[in-house]
Amino acid sequence: MTNKKNWPLWEVFIRSKNGLSHKHAGSLHAADAEMAIENARDVYTRRSEGVSIWVVESRYITASSPNQAESLFDPADDKVYRHPTFYNLPDEVKHI
């Protein structure tokens, strides 16, 4: 029985209200995309948690590797000039 193909895993993203981004809600199994959307509706929006749903089959997600986390993310730590507080302006200057 285990040699039979099981329903693939899908990741579910929900937009809780217009104006906000879709956010990862969890995963579920479905045979196809339509079913994944419907299952997501039944599983993840039972309490009106969403106005829009994205589903994507989990195997299509490429994730960054935690082993490379240092080389990917640490170099941004010292780029303070990307943040507004890096720049000193006199207090008299308003609305900037």
């Binding site: 199994h29 079913m35 299952n39 039944d42 039972r46």
Partner: protein, 252 residues
């Protein structure tokens, strides 16, 4: 409009929702996969919810002070007004889906029309219920197609279910005296025009599901008039009403 006919009509709507919701709720915890267990329970919840609004309103219209619960829990088989289709047993998932689809396709057009009912309160109930029913129809149609056109086994099971249940589909659009009265007063649509829409929808989905509609089947009716239910309803009520009957007159 005679009040008793309107009361009868509301009982039909309410009892259909209650009995089908009850049947679906029997699946809870036993579905073919967790995701579908949740999906079917959602439909059951919609239907019991609709039954509550409709029976509550029926009680009001009757004017004898009966509540939704008194109507649900204290009527015997002969006083129930649901169609025979909804009281049929769950059987396998193919039977459950086929029963659901045959009912949803009718209920969809019925409630779409009830949104224009001359009765304001019924109109409000219909507006809310229709959104739910539209989803039910989408769900059951997709599963009809999926299972009809799935594997050889699923195809056979679906064809068998269709053959078992088709004989109960005629009653849905059968025109009775109550229906004529409701039509005259603008409460409910003409079931003859609903039948046309129904037949088209069913034929289209059945075809896409690669199934074949049974030809020239005897159509059994008797549920919505209460003249002759199937044997199943008594067992449903035995369960549904057990606590209320064993401990009469108490609050739960």
């Amino acid at each position: 409009m005679p009040h008793s006919a309107f009361f009868e009509y509301l009982l039909r709507l309410g009892d259909n929702a209650l009995i089908l919701g009850h049947r679906l709720s029997e699946w809870c915890g036993h579905g073919p996969i967790l995701e579908q267990d949740i999906a079917m329970t959602n439909i059951a919840l919609d239907q019991v919810g609709q039954a509550r609004s409709l029976l509550q309103y029926a009680g009001q219209v009757e004017g004898k002070g009966r509540t939704e619960d008194q109507l649900a829990y204290l009527r015997d088989v002969g006083d129930y007004r649901n169609v025979l289709l909804v009281e049929q047993p769950n059987g396998d998932f193919a039977h459950t889906i086929t029963r659901q689809f045959l009912f949803d396709a009718f209920n969809y057009f019925q409630f779409e029309a009830l949104k224009q009912s001359s009765d304001e309160h019924l109109r409000a109930i219909a507006a809310k219920s229709f959104k739910e029913i539209a989803y039910h129809l989408r769900y059951s149609s997709e599963w009809m197609i999926r299972l009809g056109d799935g594997t050889e086994e699923s195809h056979q099971r679906m064809q068998a279910a269709l053959e078992d249940l088709w004989m109960f589909s005629g009653e849905l659009t059968e025109v009775t005296e109550v229906d004529e009265l409701m039509l005259e007063t603008g409460v409910a649509p003409d079931l003859r025009s609903i039948k046309k829409l129904y037949d088209e929808k069913v034929a289209a989905i059945v075809q896409e599901a690669t199934l074949v509609l049974p030809a020239d089947t005897w159509m059994q009716s008797g549920g919505k008039t209460g003249q002759m239910h199937s044997e199943h309803l008594g067992f449903i009520l035995a369960e549904l009403q057990f606590v209320q009957r064993a401990y009469p007159g108490m609050e739960w």
